[in-house]
């Protein structure tokens, strides 16, 4: 596959209260952003188990985005702080194993930031296009 024809596959875990509403606002305000992102709604960014991320990378995602509320705005008071620690550790581990840490991203998007959501998706898509498809831990079903 040439670099230009590569269409990255991005999985976004968005929190129900802020980021998901932010993505919704981006849609209703008709802001254009790349169609490569597949959104999965979770109740809080703190719900995102690192296993979700690893599993997404195994099953066909080239990049993973975790979206939460701004610090202090979490619907569950502190969920996004926990998510932040976890993601920081996971990124370092992936880097150590040889998987580009830019594949896993985290962002704070509030329900009023439709524009920011579109920008974030644009940036990630550009990044993943540069890095290329995920090859290392792709699950192969050879039956």
């Amino acid at each position: 596959m040439s670099k230009d024809s590569f269409k990255p596959n991005i999985v976004a875990f968005l929190c129900n209260w802020c980021s998901y509403a932010g993505a919704d606002l981006a849609g209703t305000s008709r802001i254009e952003y790349p169609p490569n992102v597949k959104v999965i709604r979770v109740m809080c960014s703190g719900r995102v188990n690192p296993m979700f991320v690893v599993n997404a990378l195994q099953e066909g995602a080239d990049g993973v985005l975790i979206g939460g509320c701004h610090p202090g705005d979490c619907h569950y008071i502190q969920g996004n702080y926990f998510a932040k620690r976890r993601t920081a550790v996971l990124k370092k581990l992936l880097e150590h194993i040889g998987i580009d840490e830019r594949r896993v991203r985290m962002t704070w998007v509030s329900a009023a930031e439709g524009k920011k959501f579109a920008d974030v998706i644009k940036e990630i898509t550009e990044d993943i296009k540069k890095i290329g498809p995920m090859q290392q831990i792709r699950r192969k079903n050879n039956w």
């Binding site: 702080y81 620690r85 920081a88 150590h96 840490e101 990630i124 831990i137």
Partner: protein
């Protein structure tokens, strides 16, 4: 050198108490440089108890592995305490487990041993291969005295010590009820030379290295069973619904397993090195644990297994945690 008589004397006192189920220690093995974990239930067993530089096992796993069967009607729970012989590094595992409320400090009687380092089985088996009879190893100043077939070998400690022992910061147990022998003064310093040189490699080189390593993995989960920190009731790899990691043995699943194993030990691993010792495929698992240990110290200024009162790393947060990676 630990005074064996003192150890047995103290153990005898403890095992004769009414509220003690058994004491977990070490006994002489059946061949070579093997030493076996040993459960002493009566004072007759106490004479078998030993401590030598071959006692490498982290005995903290055993209270965690003990199966608690459902009780018969009218039966009373056995609430007796467990005696445990620990080295410096093992005691940190206990602290970490107590911190996570996996064990209760009151349920344990801890015999602490100030440890001057244990022998790496790989290194010593390379030097003296194919030993069929149990070999006795003693410590004398800077040397290990090894007697084989009437011959006495005197070998510098540096050559045989585990890598973790060369840079051990905690030779003295941090929790204990009884301490055998005087505390050790000279302590090592934790350095991350290997990790830093590995960090400079490119992503491609790193993956080539780990792909080769993870390809060897046969997913026997020995690393999980021997780890004192791995005591979930149902491990995430055993789960069937959802099944996160498939049962097939290939690079993808092996990597997922090893990533998650290392991640679950982030901020909990006390670097006893048991996982790497038992790995039948020879995967350098400590290299993964050490990396996270280093990153956790750098990012969150957190060292596991020091304070019972502190909260586990991923169960707390500070508002000033690093966030330069956030978009």
């Amino acid at each position: 050198m630990v005074n064996l008589n003192k150890l047995r004397e103290e153990a005898n006192k403890i095992v004769n108490r009414d509220d003690i189920k058994y004491i977990i220690g070490w006994e002489k093995g059946t061949y070579g440089f093997q030493v076996t974990p040993f459960f002493a239930t009566t004072s007759d067993d106490i004479d078998k108890l030993i401590f030598s530089p071959l006692c490498i096992h982290n005995l903290t796993v055993f209270p965690m592995l003990e199966e608690k069967l459902p009780m018969r009607k009218g039966a009373e729970e056995d609430t007796r305490k467990i005696g445990l012989v620990v080295k410096g590094c093992d005691s940190r595992a206990i602290i970490q487990i107590i911190q996570e409320k996996g064990l209760n400090r009151d349920d344990l009687v801890i015999i602490g041993i100030p440890c001057t380092g244990v022998i790496d089985p790989k290194k010593i088996n390379e030097k003296f291969p194919n030993q069929t009879k149990p070999v006795n190893v003693e410590e004398y100043e800077k040397y290990f005295i090894i007697k084989i077939n009437g011959k006495t070998h005197k070998i510098l400690k540096e050559e045989l010590l585990m890598n973790k022992c060369k840079q051990c910061e905690f030779p003295n147990p941090l929790v204990y009820d009884v301490l055998i022998g005087p505390e050790i003064k000279n302590k090592g310093k934790n350095i991350y030379k290997n990790i830093e040189s590995f960090k400079k490699k490119s992503l491609k080189e790193k993956w080539e290295y780990w792909e080769k390593q993870f390809d060897k993995c046969i997913r026997c989960y020995a690393c999980r069973n021997v780890c004192p920190m791995c005591y979930c009731e149902e491990c995430m790899v055993d789960q069937l619904n959802p099944q996160w990691v498939r049962r097939s043995v290939n690079v993808s699943e092996n990597t997922a397993w090893n990533i998650m194993r290392a991640f679950h030990l982030a901020g909990r691993c006390i670097d006893c090195g048991e996982c790497e010792r038992v790995c039948p495929a020879g995967i350098p698992l400590v290299k993964l644990n050490k990396k996270l240990e280093k990153e956790v110290i750098e990012m969150f200024d957190y060292t596991p297994g020091l304070d019972v009162e502190e909260k586990p790393l991923l169960a707390m947060f500070k508002p000033e945690d690093p966030e330069e990676f956030i978009l």
